[in-house]
Amino acid sequence: MGLHSAMPDLHTLTAHAAHELLVTKAISARELLDAVYARIDAVDERVHSYVLLMREQADAVSARVDAKIAAGESIGPLEGIPLALKDILCTQGIPTTCCSRVLEGFVPPYDATVVRRLDDAGVVTVGKTNMDEFAMGSSTENSAFGPSRNPWDLARVPGGSSGGSASAIGADEALIALGTDTGGSIRQPAAYCGVVGMKPTYGRVSRYGLIAFASSLDQIGPITKDVRDAALLMNAIGGPDPCDSTCYPEPAPDFTEKLGRDITGMKIGVPREFFSQEGVQVDPGVAEAVHAALRVLEAQGAIVEECSLPNVRFSLPIYYIIAPAEASSNLARYDGVEFGYRAPGTRDIVSMMTDTRDAGFGMEVKRRIMLGTYALSSGYYDAYYLKASQVRTLIRQDFERAFAQYDVLVTPTAPTVAFPLGAKVDDPMQMYLNDICTIPINMAGVPSISVPCGYDQGLPVGLQFITAHWDETTLLQAAYAYEQATGWSRRAIDEIERVTMAG
């Protein structure tokens, strides 16, 4: 295939490489899109990244881009680039399900702010991707449409909740993707699928049109094949939005600004709590890959030191109070009254609501609604929600203290590589522990990115970079320097080809 012709298989391209080919008219947006759909047709039956394809709209957008190129107009860096959109982001006139039965038949009358911005950037949305129902899960096994699969090993999960977006990028079913991250839902699947996933600072990207799971934690971010693409996608979606009061009012920087800058003298902290905590230990193979990565960073002139964020150990219990509490309220609106699924044959309003919610929600969603309802109940609020909010402040302060000393923190993204399908579905606690390295970052609201850093048991390992609030440019600078030094991202492509095409 790619080896035998001068032109690489178009679906394997990064966005910035495809852009070069588009502007030099070596390829057309049409050809690029066709290649991506051909790839989807070839592999998605096995990978199941998508829950909905948008061929008609995608064709129209790529035709417009080609017309622009033909007319000699200049195009933006993401114009004509095929993207996979997590099905938690509202798309006007196109069903948006959150992979829940309860949203059956819901067609949003409006676009999410990021969706509008992608349109403005001329991005071609290929389809909507699979996820854990309402983003609650770490494997996509909680999807009402069945799980996605890891392109590296189809018997394993792609991670979650943005599993479909990560597997789509891992399996070359799109060039770039958007996911959402509440406790690691972008970074953990990116790590499992051997791709790049970034959670921006909370407030950097508008949440308007992102169907809420936990409002104070949810953040939209890119899942891409390399760091440069993540920066380019951030340029398209970041920045203030009058529709989201929690959005940072300052204009976003050029996220590519520091790509390629030297990291000599950059101070990197390695918090020990991310390798070993009570009840959970990072797999030796994962730890080994991370330590090898730290040596690479050192070799580039960074100063690497071990450090400690003592309150991080409370992150998981705190998360499982705050996130379900917010979710219990956010998901109250799915009652069959206005939109989505309504249970048939109900006698009165109470049974209509309860039957709808009973049949509409999956197990994990119900579990979290119950957890959250309990945590907010009269008599428990102070002991749970209020206490959790206070501890959350301590966690945030831990990070602030660390960033007074270090430019960047580096940790594993997840304690293990991708696990087999079904391995943890009956043990929610084991599933929750999988997010131990990513949840603290959401609690603090700081930005972080996962990049591939090698393999354990033949499966990709993720390396997580973290920086201070609003300092995504340094985050991208460090991740880019590491990526350029190792080339893990590029090496992945041939491997995946072997697995997904064989299935």
Partner: protein
């Protein structure tokens, strides 16, 4: 029988008079076809976020400041969670632990005496939609929802249980409504549901300092029914205590048809609202400059205005109270006086003809069809002697009906007054000739015949004679001057 005293407090819900809803851009205009003033945000569709209407916040703060509340900084919104089909998100964005106003007071007059009530808290929240149960559908068990009201800004004002009589309760309600109108933050029209009063009532033996079990009364939609419900509740509770029965702490609904309050099923009121801070809105931090700026905008409030009307305009206390009871009246007299006419003349017209006509037509003070300028012109016509008082009343009434200016009405109706001395003399002479006997009696020292003679002259002139001049002319003629 022991003497009891009622202990009354209020929760007031006032709709703020913003053009758009509290968290979206939809219109708040009432009377639109169902679900036409809606958008994804006020419908609570998945993925939407609220954005606070600054004007609503400002209006709320103005009330909090006028009630001498402290304004917590930050003040936060919280979610009040409960399931109801008219509540799009199944939670209401409201305020609980850090509202925009805390620990204030409000002073008003009861029978000329000042009365102060503590204000516990003032908070902003969004209204819910409205359930409609159409006849033909309810048979099939179906109801409809109109979300036009969903997201209309409400201000809730919670008072302490400081009122001790029906008269105080009535004065408090009127005073609060007046305050909202003066601050220009609510239209506060009860019949449109723009202001709702929920009283909490308990009774206790007079002299006791402990509070009895308090009963909240809902479903009252006019000042009259609030008063009736309070009266009923006081009697019911006293009766219960007299009979040795227990009064339950509960919510009761006013049943207008039966003229009584009835207990709500306890299930309906046993809510755990699971309040928690609204994560979609940011905490509100107010600078002293900002709050001072709002205070500086505070208009003259009713009490101050009443004093000014008495002291500067020289109005009787009674007139001043009436004219300040409605902001529209007070604004009217101020506007008229500013055009250079005597306050007393304006007040006379307002207390007389204007109030009469508004009452007869059932019009709200804000709906007054006559403009201050028009009344000033009418007064000028009278003072210049162009028309007499009887004519002026007719002109005013026509002005009220048609909105036309006095001058035009006077022209059309031929109301020009006869003030020409020679013309009047001719009529006076004719009347005296025709009525020699009364003329003689007046000349002999009787006063009474003068009135009769004046009346005759007015009749001869078809009401157009300048009455004071006629008086003067007759007097002079009969005294042989």
């Amino acid at each position: 029988m022991a003497e009891y005293e009622p202990v009354i407090g209020f929760e007031i819900h006032a709709e703020l008079a913003t053009h758009s809803k509290i968290f979206c851009g939809c219109s708040t205009e009432p009377g639109a076809p169902p679900n036409t003033h809606t958008c994804p945000i006020c419908l609570g569709l998945p993925g939407v976020l609220p954005v606070l209407n600054r004007t609503a916040l400002e209006y709320g703060l103005k009330v909090a400041l006028a009630c001498h509340c402290s304004v917590p900084s930050p003040s936060i919104f919280e979610r009040k969670n409960y399931y109801y089909p008219d509540l799009p998100k199944n939670y209401q964005i409201s305020q609980k632990r850090s509202p925009i106003g805390l620990d204030g007071w409000f002073e008003f007059e009861v029978d000329g005496q000042p009365k102060r009530v503590s204000i516990i808290d003032i908070h902003l929240e969004e209204d819910a939609g409205k359930l409609i149960h159409p006849e033909e559908r309810s048979a099939a068990g179906q109801s409809l929802v109109d979300f036009n009201r969903a997201g209309v800004p409400l201000l809730e004002i919670v008072s302490g249980p400081d009122l001790r009589s029906i008269a105080e309760a009535e004065a408090y309600m009127a005073g609060m409504r007046q305050l909202l109108l003066y601050l220009d933050v609510s239209h506060a029209r009860m019949e449109l549901g723009q202001i709702r009063f929920e009283a909490n009532i308990s009774v206790r033996p007079k002299g006791s300092t402990t509070l009895g079990k308090r009963v909240e009364v809902k479903n009252v939609n006019s000042f009259r029914t609030v008063t009736r419900a309070i009266e009923y509740e006081i009697d019911r509770q006293i009766e219960a205590y007299e009979q040795g029965e227990r009064v339950l702490q509960e919510t009761r609904l006013w049943d207008e048809a039966r003229g009584m309050t009835v207990a709500m099923r306890s299930k309906e009121e046993s809510h755990d609202y699971r309040y928690f801070p609204e994560p979609d809105l940011v905490p509100m931090v107010f600078t002293t400059e900002y709050l001072n700026g709002l205070l500086a905008q505070q208009p003259e409030l009713p009490a101050a205005r009443r004093t000014r009307f008495i002291e500067q305009f020289g109005l009787p206390a009674y007139d001043a109270a009436i004219l300040t009871s409605e902001k529209a009246f007070a604004d009217f007299i101020d506007a008229a006086v500013a055009l250079g006419v005597s306050p007393k003349a304006v007040s006379n017209w307002m207390m007389g003809e204007m109030l009469r006509l508004l009452n007869e037509r059932g019009l709200a003070p804000e709906a007054m069809p006559v403009q201050p300028r028009q009344l000033v012109e009418l007064i000028a016509l009278v003072e210049a002697g162009r028309i007499n008082t009887t004519q002026a009343k007719k002109v005013f009434e026509e002005m009220f009906e048609t909105g036309r200016d006095a001058e035009a009405i006077v022209q059309d109706r031929g109301f020009a007054q006869i003030s020409d001395t020679s013309a009047l003399e001719a009529i006076v002479d004719a009347v005296l000739t025709a009525n020699p006997e009364p003329a003689a009696r007046y000349a002999a020292g009787e006063d009474k015949p003068l009135g009769f003679l004046v009346g005759q002259v007015m009749r001869e002139s078809r009401g157009q004679a300048n009455a004071p001049m006629v008086n003067e002319l007759l007097r002079r003629r009969l005294r042989g001057e």
